[in-house]
């Protein structure tokens, strides 16, 4: 009995669930509130809004992505640039006026620590983005427009994420 206790104590401290989820992730969300599962439908509604905008802005288009990287069109730069400016103003307003969520919780903004993954991973994603013409959001949107072949691309992206998780410890960070 006492042996077992000693063994447990000498093991490395086990990561908490929150710590594991926080690895290499931007969107980590811990709320004290417990809601029924169907409260999540508001995020599906938000996703629908976003999906419509992805189509109407054509950022899901392989052709728009090629135009961007070949400097043949300003469109994508305008979309991303004005989205960022809108986001910066929104986040500043939220901080300035200490805006709370619709449930009255204070809004927490994630900070991002630098690691080499942002360079190596960023370059790898950039290479893939110019091939597929789609970042992860547009993959879901392209499938929505009936392009069933993109299921293969999405499945490959999930496989890529899985392989990253598998070899994560051996990669420079």
């Amino acid at each position: 009995m006492s042996m077992k206790t000693i063994e447990t104590n000498t093991l490395e401290p086990v990561n908490t669930d929150f710590e594991v989820r926080s690895l290499d992730a931007m969107c980590i969300n811990e709320s004290e509130l417990k809601h029924p599962w169907w409260y999540n439908f508001k995020y599906a509604a938000m996703g629908m809004f976003f999906g419509i905008i992805l189509i109407k802005s054509e950022v899901v288009s392989w052709f728009r992505i090629q135009e961007m990287f070949r400097l043949e069109s300003f469109h994508m730069y305008g979309v991303i640039g004005s989205a960022v400016v809108t986001g910066i103003i929104s986040v500043w307003l939220i901080k300035r006026f200490k805006v709370k969520t619709i449930y009255g919780e204070p809004i927490l903004l994630p900070t991002k620590k630098f690691n080499k993954g942002q360079i190596f991973g960023g370059l790898i994603f950039g290479l893939g983005w110019a091939i597929t013409g789609a970042c992860p959001g547009p993959l879901f949107a392209q499938i929505g427009t009936g392009l069933t072949i993109v299921f293969v691309t999405l499945f490959s992206a999930i496989a890529g994420t899985w392989v990253y998780g598998l070899i994560r410890e051996r990669l420079p960070h």
Binding site: M26, N29, E30, Y43, F63, T86, Y103, A141, T161
Partner: protein, 185 residues
């Protein structure tokens, strides 16, 4: 109903994308990010005792509802609003003709991405290989265009700026230096 069928200019679409950031924060403290959904799918379907996938994915299930919404919203815009893709730049049209790409009626060139082309070298590299790089790279970078370039930059996180610059660098290298060889296969 032209507004529903035609592409929207950047100065309309961009700010609406930007508003997704405060909307998700106000709805429940959610930081905008999409590539994490791929990780949650791994954690839900095949965690395989890998530490990186050993967490309670159900706590992030909002993210899966969000991407399901993207799928639905895109279907609505395409099949109900009948979105008509905008014209492609003539320089790109001319260049793509050299690679046998002449269709511009959907969002991806069907001469490259289709079930028929999947077993050709070009189709396989671009569909399977491209997807793999997207999934591996976004997670390695800790986010994609939404998590870093929109959410991270909105919150003035300089690592997100580093990531965004690298996304663009990788894209420029691929589109201008490597893709011409792949398209020739």
């Amino acid at each position: 109903m032209n507004i529903l069928q035609q592409p929207w200019p950047w100065y309309v679409a961009g700010p609406l994308i930007g508003l997704t950031v405060p909307a998700l924060l106000l709805l429940g403290n959610k930081a905008f990010g999409i590539s994490s959904s791929l990780r949650h799918i791994c954690a839900a379907c095949l965690p395989a005792s890998i530490p990186f996938f050993s967490y309670d994915w159900k706590k992030e299930i909002w993210n899966l509802f969000f991407v399901a919404g993207i799928f639905g919203g895109a279907a609505l815009a395409w099949f109900v609003f009948h979105h008509q893709p905008g014209a492609v730049d003539p320089r790109l049209v001319a260049d793509l003709q050299h690679y046998g790409i002449n269709s511009h009626s959907s969002f991806i060139p069907k001469e490259v991405f289709s079930w028929k082309e999947l077993l050709t070298p070009r189709g396989a590299i671009m569909t399977i290989g491209g997807g793999f790089l997207v999934g591996f790279g976004t997670r390695y970078a800790g986010g994609c265009t939404s998590g870093h370039s929109i959410m991270g930059l909105s919150n003035l996180q300089w690592p997100s700026l580093v990531a965004t610059i690298c996304f663009m660098a990788g894209g420029f290298i691929m589109a201008n230096l490597i893709l011409p060889f792949i398209l020739n296969l």
